[in-house]
């Protein structure tokens, strides 16, 4: 307990500095509302249900896009490592799209699917697919050739080897790719909602900021940041549990 306190003390100090600087008038409350006021705004927004409905909209979009990218990207990456023709066709495309800033797709998906959920889900799916595919590909490619041979010589079919040997050995890298994708999904989600949306946390930030409700805007920004952080921590826990079978 004291260990955690010592570790996170700098954050507490910063929070106190924030409160003090605004209370003492060193910083204008118009530019930076006091932390206590931001927390009260967050509480009010949560009670009125605004925060919850917008957060639910955001999480639905991020979750759906991410789930699609994990299923399709993971399958694609393993297929690339398993059948060379797939690699030859898909590999150059992945390499081509890898450095492309995915946020550039925001206007395109909005053009295709409008301002609703569909355009964000498509954007997150397309953006997150590349790290997942690469993770799965690198993991599956590095699976131990000796394991594959022994499984084959013990009479396992090719499909059986794929499922029992290649997929588990691809898992650590695949899960790492998913972690990158998880962070990316939040970035894409918030960018897209800031730019083209009528609901969601990113929209809320822009809407409250444009209306001059700065304590509310800060509350929404902190909520997004907190959600992104918590999602990463939970994912790390899960990843460690899933990979417990490794020594």
């Amino acid at each position: 307990m004291t260990g955690a306190l010592h570790r996170y003390l700098p954050l507490v100090i910063l929070a106190l500095l924030w409160e003090a600087a605004t209370r003492l008038g060193i910083v204008s409350t118009l530019a930076l509302p006091p932390l206590s006021q931001v927390l009260r705004a967050a509480y009010d927004l949560a009670r009125s249900g605004d925060l919850l409905t917008n957060a639910a909209a955001s999480l639905y979009r991020a979750g759906a896009g991410l789930a699609l990218s994990i299923v399709i990207g993971g399958a694609l990456g393993i297929a690339m490592a398993w059948w060379r023709p797939v690699n030859v066709v898909v590999g150059p495309l992945v390499e081509l799209f890898y450095p492309v800033p995915k946020s550039a797709l925001i206007p395109v998906t909005a053009l295709w699917l409008g301002f609703g959920d569909g355009s964000k889900i498509l954007l997150i799916f397309l953006g997150c697919m590349i790290p997942v595919t690469l993770g799965a590909f690198n993991g599956a490619r590095s699976s131990d050739q000796a394991l594959i041979w022994s499984a084959r010589s013990m009479g396992a079919s090719r499909l059986r080897v794929l499922w029992d040997v290649v997929v588990p050995s691809a898992l650590p890298e695949l899960l790492n790719g998913v972690r990158t994708a998880l962070a990316l999904s939040f970035v894409l989600l918030v960018s897209a909602e800031l730019i083209v949306a009528r609901s969601g946390l990113g929209y809320m930030i822009g809407f409250l900021g444009a209306g001059g409700t700065y304590d509310g805007m800060f509350a929404a920004v902190l909520t997004v940041a907190f959600l992104g952080f918590v999602a990463d921590r939970i994912y790390q826990r899960l990843m460690n549990r899933v990979l417990q079978w490794r020594e």
């Binding site: 570790r7 996170y8 003390l9 700098p10 954050l11 910063l14 530019a31 030859v88 066709v89 898909v90 590999g91 150059p92 495309l93 390499e95 081509l96 799209f97 890898y98 450095p99 492309v100 800033p101 995915k102 946020s103 550039a104 797709l105 925001i106 206007p107 395109v108 909005a110 053009l111 295709w112 962070a183 939040f186 970035v187 989600l189 918030v190 960018s191 800031l194 730019i195 946390l201 990113g202 930030i205 822009g206 900021g209 700065y214 805007m217 800060f218 920004v221 997004v224 940041a225 992104g228 952080f229 999602a231 990463d232 921590r233």
Partner: protein
């Protein structure tokens, strides 16, 4: 003779695989043109490749392309340079000073996984809708991978190297510039390679939300006026710019690390 007979199919084979890579890209481009012309999708949903290329050409002739490209790259690269310098310095400090590490450790571990782009409206509120706020956002977002890479790189410097340098009478300053930084360079460069695309992304998103010209802003304007060739021209330009930046960074890495053993390893594509 036998060796030659074995080698030839191998050479032809690898040539074929190499050709296939370009064929895949060519097929994609042809499929784009074909799909756009087939009438299955409206020109609004997907303008044909030739229309988009014509649009890029006319933008280039009028000078808009160059100006927007310059603005975007200027914001991204200036922010990236600040993040690279400050991030490396901070990372080395964190790794070498216990108090600084105690203070920044929780900030980094909390800040790294956060979607920092959400702070964009706050930065805009503080600094206004200008280049300074866009660059601040770029620095804020791209500094994290640099710092963590610099910390890891500095901590991984072999103790024996430091001991022997000290033993031979190296000053702290010499130790830093001649031992620690070169030894940490490979990891720092990896961090920079992660940070560069982030810098470009953030500068484009900042332009999309705040306006003020640049490739992102031009794309948003095109999108608002339902000018879909403009949108697709924008995405093509951004894709090419991003691709070139990443390739340049990889080249720079190879150039800077000529002395390092990784230069001997076969280059990965």
């Amino acid at each position: 003779m036998t060796r030659r007979r074995v080698a030839m199919p191998g050479l032809v084979g690898s040539m074929a695989w190499w050709m296939a890579r370009w064929i895949a890209i060519a097929v994609l481009l042809v499929a784009w043109e074909g799909l756009a012309r087939s009438g299955l999708v409206t020109p609004f949903m997907l303008p044909s490749l030739s229309v988009v290329l014509a649009r890029i050409w006319s933008d280039a002739l009028s000078g808009d392309l160059l100006q927007n490209l310059w603005l975007t790259l200027y914001r991204a690269l200036a922010g990236f340079a600040i993040a690279a310098g400050a991030g490396t310095a901070l990372g080395v400090l964190i790794a070498r000073n216990r108090f600084i590490r105690w203070f920044f450790d929780p900030l980094i571990s909390v800040g790294f996984p956060m979607p920092k782009i959400a702070f964009l409206p706050i930065i805009a509120l503080w600094l206004g809708y200008n280049d300074a706020s866009k660059m601040t956002m770029v620095v804020f977002d791209s500094i994290f991978p640099v710092v963590t890479a610099a910390i890891a790189g500095t901590l991984a410097v072999e103790k024996e190297l430091l001991w022997s340098a000290r033993n031979m009478g190296a000053s702290e300053r010499q130790l830093l510039w001649e031992i620690v930084l070169p030894a940490a360079l490979p990891q720092v460069l990896t961090g920079l390679q992660v940070a560069l695309p982030i810098a470009l992304i953030v500068s484009i998103v900042a332009e999309m939300t705040m306006g003020g010209a640049g490739l992102g802003s031009a794309m948003m304007v095109a999108s608002r006026f339902a000018d879909s060739p403009g949108v697709f021209a924008g995405i093509t330009e951004i894709a090419v710019a991003g691709y070139c930046l990443v390739k340049c960074m990889a080249l720079l890495r190879r150039r800077l690390l000529l002395w390092h053993q990784e230069a001997l390893a076969p280059a990965t594509a």
